[in-house]
């Protein structure tokens, strides 16, 4: 079964074709990597999936439901969640609050019970706190719950972003360069974290430049260049594809 399908997805910015006719399918509970040189349109693709930018043409189907016209918060509530290439935590909130915000829409809530603090409300608040703690344990930050998010070390901030994304209880989680700026040890940690997320039953779509990581964990790889999909397949297929090598290294000129 496919959780996410795009059909001839196109996004132009004025005369620039950021994405052109991109079609692909992501299998349920798989790890799909999107690779390609800078400016290939990878992040634009993520922005289309999450409703931040509207596609110029084409469709995006999530669980067989067209989502290309929806608002970002509607898509988030359907079950697609993401992280950014540059860290975008709610930096003035504590670590646990960042995760609790992710849980925000996941419980029934009405203003009446919030004002009068009835039982139902208190139980729900308790549940949210407990869930948030579990997500922190999952990424190993449970001892830093009350610290301000921007006081965490860099690698932990990235992991916290992943926890916040998980807290929205998505079916698909989009990770935009989760290992950017990390050292090899931290990269290894993220790699096993991604594996663990897959084991939770989630589909992961990944933008990544670290080829060791990409080749190591991906079930499927999609290669973009100048907004166009130039190849897709299993890691070993993509690795040897002449078009991919050309896009990364340039055309061979020696005869």
């Amino acid at each position: 079964m496919f959780v996410l399908e795009t059909n001839r997805l196109t996004r132009h910015f004025g005369g620039i074709k950021a994405i052109e006719d991109v079609s692909f399918k992501a299998k349920d509970r798989s790890i799909v990597s999107i690779i390609g040189p800078n400016g290939a349109g990878k992040t634009t693709l993520f922005n289309c999936f999450t409703g931040i930018t509207k596609p110029t043409k084409g469709s995006i189907r999530f669980m067989n439901k067209e989502i290309s016209g929806l608002q970002p918060h509607e898509i988030a509530n359907l079950g697609i969640s993401r992280t950014f290439q540059n860290i975008r935590l709610f930096s003035e909130m504590s670590v646990i609050e960042n995760v609790m915000v992710g849980q925000h829409t996941k419980r029934k809530y009405n203003l009446f019970s919030a004002i009068f603090h009835n039982n139902n409300f208190l139980i729900q608040e308790q549940n949210i706190l407990q869930n948030a703690f579990e997500y922190l344990e999952f990424i190993g930050l449970q001892n830093f719950a009350d610290m301000r998010a921007d006081n965490l070390p860099y690698g932990s901030q990235r992991r916290l972003e992943i926890a916040r994304a998980l807290a929205t209880e998505p079916d698909i989680i989009l990770l935009d360069e989760p290992t950017a700026g990390m050292n090899p040890a931290e990269t290894e940690e993220v790699m096993s974290l991604i594996k663990n997320i897959q084991e939770l039953g989630k589909t992961i779509i990944l933008i990544e430049h670290d080829m060791h990581l990409v080749m190591g964990i991906s079930d499927w790889i999609i290669v973009l260049d100048h907004g166009v999909k130039i190849a897709e397949g299993k890691p070993e297929q993509v690795r040897n594809d002449p078009l991919v090598i050309e896009a990364y290294l340039g055309k061979e000129t020696i005869n």
Binding site: T50, H73, E92, M93, M100, V101, K106, Y109, A114, A165
Partner: protein, 300 residues
């Protein structure tokens, strides 16, 4: 004398503080100075008089004054909140992605509209508050506090306390804080940013309405122009505390009220209004980010 002026200043300051909260909350979320906010306070003052008039005509005020007063206040708050909600939808939301000057001009337009609407429908002359109440006195350490003053301080304190609890402890409060920090990211964790913005305007307008009611009862006289000066002073209070900061608006309002009260007593009451602007100028020169303000990062 000193303590007496301190109490007078505190009364005034708590009113400034709850108006300032509306400025600071809207600024925190939209980075917009809502110049139409002071007019909501004026609207609140007029509406409570109008509702009391209606209840008098119905005979309710003579039967049970407290009930009539409470009902009038509730209706006033509801109307003003609805007004604040509508203004955001009509005057600001269509300009969400426009250059920052556009909603500012729109705000000034809304403010002029409401002032003139009230002037035309309610007349340009002063209106008196029809009933006196809370005129009993408390004497405490030689200080004379009217019940009404005590009530204003207590109600304001309660509202500020509730707002803090709301923002720090509830889920909507968390969503508001998240939205004020990063609207896109807030939407991506599933928060409906438009409803959070509406909630902000509704709460801000409701607080301003309560301030209007209290001042109408305290001074006993109102006119269509009071929103302007109160708005500017509350704005000063918000800037003094650090615009965008809830705690700052509270502290800024109280400080401004105290400075006015003490300044009027020890320097000259004729300069009463000037103190606010002197403070505004000094703050802008020395610490534009205010007492609790965040230093604004240059956005890339």
């Amino acid at each position: 004398m000193f303590l007496q002026q301190l109490i007078n200043g505190l009364t005034l300051g708590s009113v400034y503080a709850i108006i300032a909260l509306g400025y600071t909350m809207v600024y925190g979320i939209l980075e917009l100075i809502n110049f139409a906010h002071g007019e909501i306070y004026m609207l609140g003052a007029y509406l409570v008089i109008i509702f009391l008039g209606i209840f008098t005509a119905m005979g309710l005020t003579s039967a049970n004054f407290t009930l009539a007063l409470i009902l009038s206040i509730i209706l006033t708050v509801v109307f003003c909140s609805a007004y604040g909600f509508t203004v955001e939808k009509v005057a600001y939301k269509p300009l969400r992605n426009a250059p920052r000057l556009s909603p500012l001009i729109s705000a000034i337009g809304v403010s002029i509209f409401l002032q003139n609407f009230i002037m035309l429908t309610q007349g340009a002359t002063d209106r008196g508050f029809p009933y006196r109440f809370g005129e009993g006195h408390l004497y405490f350490l030689n200080v004379d506090i009217t019940y009404l003053q005590a009530m204003i301080i207590i109600v304001s304190g309660f509202l500020m306390f509730s707002l803090r609890i709301f923002i720090w402890k509830t889920r909507i409060g968390k969503a508001m804080r998240a939205t004020s920090q990063d609207k896109t990211m807030a939407a991506l964790v599933g928060i409906n940013v438009n409803s959070i913005i509406s909630v902000t305007f509704i709460i801000g307008a409701g607080l301003a309405a309560v301030a209007g009611v209290m001042v109408a009862a305290y001074y006993g006289l109102i006119n269509y122009f009071i929103g302007y000066i109160a708005g500017i002073k509350a704005f000063t209070a918000a800037v003094l505390g650090g615009i965008g900061s809830i705690r700052g608006a509270m502290v800024g309002g109280i400080i401004l009220g105290l400075v006015e009260g003490l300044g009027a007593a020890y320097i000259s009451s004729e300069y009463k209004d000037a103190f606010a602007f002197i403070i505004l100028i000094i703050i802008l020169l020395i610490k534009p980010s205010g007492i609790y303000g965040r230093e604004i990062d240059e956005k890339v």
